[in-house]
């Protein structure tokens, strides 16, 4: 498959993620959209890594895959912190709607 397909898919996922973050009000969905964006980036990395595979150079492109693992680790850590925040949010204002989070206004 040509690389274009992967790029378009990743772009589409990323845009969906951005739009989701900007438009949705539910904190959990916003969170999922962020994950979507991260994974769009992961997808691109893997795709380009695959594209650069070379029989003469067995290590070519492998650093991108390592990068992907790092992103996954960071994302997992982020999820745990983020979910904890959301739990606290719910306990305080009994909602996960980010529009209620406007106490820093002005």
């Amino acid at each position: 498959m040509p690389i274009n397909y992967y790029i378009f898919l990743a772009l589409a996922l990323f845009c969906i993620g951005i739009i989701g973050v900007l438009t949705r009000r539910n904190a959990i969905i916003i969170f999922m959209c962020i994950e979507l964006m991260l994974n769009a980036a992961n997808l691109l990395l893997v795709a380009f890594s695959k594209m650069h595979v070379d029989v003469n150079q067995p290590t070519a492109g492998s650093d991108a895959q390592i990068f992907v693992f790092f992103i996954m680790v960071v994302a997992a850590a982020e999820v745990s912190v983020g979910l904890a925040i959301i739990v606290m949010l719910y306990r305080n204002i009994h909602s996960v709607d980010v529009n209620f989070l406007n106490r820093l206004k002005n």
Partner: protein, 636 residues
């Protein structure tokens, strides 16, 4: 270095220790202890100075280097002391007379609180320290440290009785006027550094030929400006008479014997620079002469005993500058020395009189003190004779030398100088007559109180009187005794470079012996007539209520110089500062500062609207910002 001169650091160091001990221990130490410490350190310095002088006399001169004071790539200034003929003479004068005045002060200041008493001695010691630094320094930077130090001490001591606003005003005046001169001195030093890259005397004087004529004239003019401020010459002399607000020993030590001669020392030290700048020399001679005459005329009509002496100091300093200006460097240094003797004597005598009169300084209320104060009277009379230039007193020799040199240069200088000498004789014996002769004009209480001063006061007077009497004998002119001018022979190495230069230019003329006798006879006979007339006239002085008229009134008001300065400089300066304060400061600067504050306030109030508190709004802003960065990255 095994040179015995290595120990000279002790000379300024001891007074510094005295300053620290007396200054820090002023609450604990008793008056006796303070007096012993204060005078003792100076005595020790004096003894070392005598030792150094003997070494120098045997030809052992040196520049003693201790450490690097400033060390940068392009400029290196060592902390070094130059010990040679000139500085050793000044060391003797400063520590010797300084010691006598310290002893005198232990009695004179005895009525002060023990705290103030210690403070006074601490200041005096600090002054001696600064003055020693000034004359011992081996380069202009070290000299400048001392130069500033003596200015500071003079400020502190003039304002010693600072509870009286007049005294603080006088202290400020002295300090500010000195600052004007210091500014010139600093510029001259910078100029030297820019052109020669050094301030060491040796290096400067050896490389003097590398300087262009403009450089030398500029540098010497600026140095002379420094000397004008420090040594109270026209136009900056008005601080010295006001400085009499300080305690009398201070007037004697700082404002007569030592500090005010710093300018003369500096010019004598830099004599080769000045010899190479005839324009500056001419200016020095004219300013010195003008100061001598103007101050002498003012002294004719003053009624405050210390004011008369102050103006006479200004006038004598003018003489010294005349000597420097006509190239008689030895004469000027000689006059510094003799003047230090007799002027310290006169001031201390005046202090003794004031002490006896219970603080009264107005001569119109004195008179007839001869009966009550035998020692003060005799010593004071000797001092008056010395300053009036009567042979064989010291003043005669030094004054005669300067006048003879002035005659060689230009007979008009001599004429004015001699006229001044007559006036000097006149006002000194007016002072003498009004104070010691005739009948007592004060109140009954004061008359009852009159007494001779204690030993701590009279002994310094006696020693100084002896010095004022014999001090001139080290410089007996050639006409009287061949090789009689031992001072000139002693100082010869200092002025050798200048003398050679003058000799090559062929400007040096010798006076014939008959001319010299004639000149001396004129000045002595004139002064004798003036002093006899004055002593006779003012011994019969009666206080009159009649207002002074005409020229007398102008003189009594000191030529209105203070008033003129006030109108020309102080008032416009005050209104200008008023303008700066009201318009520039309040409107422009404050307006700008407040404006900045207001602008920031307004701007932040507008930007605050962006902070909606909505998470999605922040996200949107972030995305937009990232997009903008992308676009910049891609297309620009």
């Amino acid at each position: 270095m095994s040179n015995t001169l290595q120990i000279v650091w002790l000379i300024p160091f001891l007074p510094l220790i005295g300053f620290l001990v007396n200054g820090l221990g002023r609450k604990q130490l008793s008056k006796t202890l303070v007096g012993i410490i204060g005078s003792g350190v100076i005595l020790a310095s004096f003894l070392i100075s005598v030792f150094v002088f003997l070494q120098v006399k045997n030809g052992n001169t040196a520049v003693v280097n201790y450490f690097d004071f400033i060390n940068t790539a392009s400029l290196k200034v060592g902390f070094n002391f130059q010990i040679d003929q000139l500085s050793s003479i000044f060391l003797l004068i400063i520590t010797g007379i300084g010691f006598l005045i310290h002893v005198y002060s232990t009695s004179y200041m005895h009525e002060e609180d023990s705290k103030d008493f210690a403070k006074f001695f601490a200041y005096l010691n600090l002054f001696i320290f600064s003055m020693l630094l000034l004359v011992m320094g081996g380069n202009y930077i070290i000299m400048f440290i001392g130069w500033e130090g003596v200015g500071l001490c003079s400020y502190l001591l003039i304002g010693f009785w600072f509870k009286d606003a007049n005294n603080t005003a006088a202290a400020n005046k002295a300090f500010i006027m000195n600052r004007i001169g210091d500014f010139g001195f600093l510029l001259a030093v910078f100029w030297l550094i820019a052109k020669l890259g050094t301030t060491d005397y040796h290096a400067v004087f050896e490389n003097v030929s590398k300087l262009s004529a403009t450089d030398i004239t500029g540098i010497t003019m600026l140095l002379f400006l420094g000397a004008i401020g420090k040594s109270a010459q026209i136009p900056l002399y008005t601080w010295l008479p006001d400085a009499m607000a300080g305690p009398t020993p201070v007037s004697a030590l700082i404002h007569a014997a030592t500090m005010v001669t710093a300018g003369i020392y500096m010019i004598a030290r830099s004599n080769i620079l000045f010899t190479m700048a005839p324009a500056t020399q001419a200016l020095i001679a004219v300013i010195g002469l003008a100061t001598a005459v103007v101050a002498a005329t003012i002294a004719l009509k003053q009624n405050d005993i210390k004011k008369v002496l102050a103006y006479s100091t200004v006038s004598q300093l003018g003489y010294m500058f005349l000597g420097l200006g006509v190239g008689a460097y030895t004469g000027a240094v000689f006059h510094v020395m003799t003047h230090a003797f007799f002027k310290a004597l006169l001031f201390l005598g005046a202090g003794s009189v004031i002490h006896a009169m219970g603080g009264e300084q107005d001569m119109r209320k004195m008179g007839g003190l001869k009966k009550y104060m035998g020692i003060t009277h005799i010593t004071f009379l000797l001092g008056c004779l010395a300053i009036a230039g009567m042979p064989p007193f010291s003043g005669f020799f030094s004054k005669d030398e300067i006048l003879a040199a002035a005659f060689t240069k230009n007979p008009i200088y001599w004429g004015v100088g001699v006229l001044t000498a007559f006036m000097t004789a006149f006002y000194m014996f007016r002072l003498y007559g009004m104070t010691f002769l005739g009948k007592f004009r004060g109140t009954h209480d004061q008359e009852h109180h009159l007494h001779e001063s204690p030993l701590a006061i009279t002994i310094p007077l006696i020693i100084l009187a002896i010095l004022a009497f014999v001090g001139g004998w080290v410089g007996i002119p050639e006409v009287f005794m061949h090789g009689g001018h031992r001072l000139e022979a002693f100082l010869e190495p200092i002025f050798a470079q200048s003398n050679i230069l003058v000799a090559t230019l062929g400007e040096k003329q010798e006076l014939s012996h008959t001319t010299e006798y004639a000149l001396m006879a004129t000045s002595v006979i004139g002064a004798l007539i003036a002093l006899l007339y004055a002593a006779n006239k003012f011994s019969k002085y009666q206080a009159s209520t009649q207002e002074e008229t005409g020229i007398g009134r102008v003189l009594a008001n000191k030529w209105y110089v203070d008033e003129i300065y006030d109108a020309v400089i102080v008032k416009p300066l005050k209104s200008f500062s008023g303008f700066l304060n009201n318009i520039i400061e309040k409107k422009a600067i404050d307006g700008f500062v407040n404006g900045v504050g207001r602008a920031v306030n307004y701007g932040s109030r507008q930007i605050r609207l962006l902070q909606t508190g909505q998470v999605s709004a922040y996200m949107l802003l972030m995305v937009v910002a990232i997009l903008i960065l992308f676009i910049i990255q891609l297309f620009l």
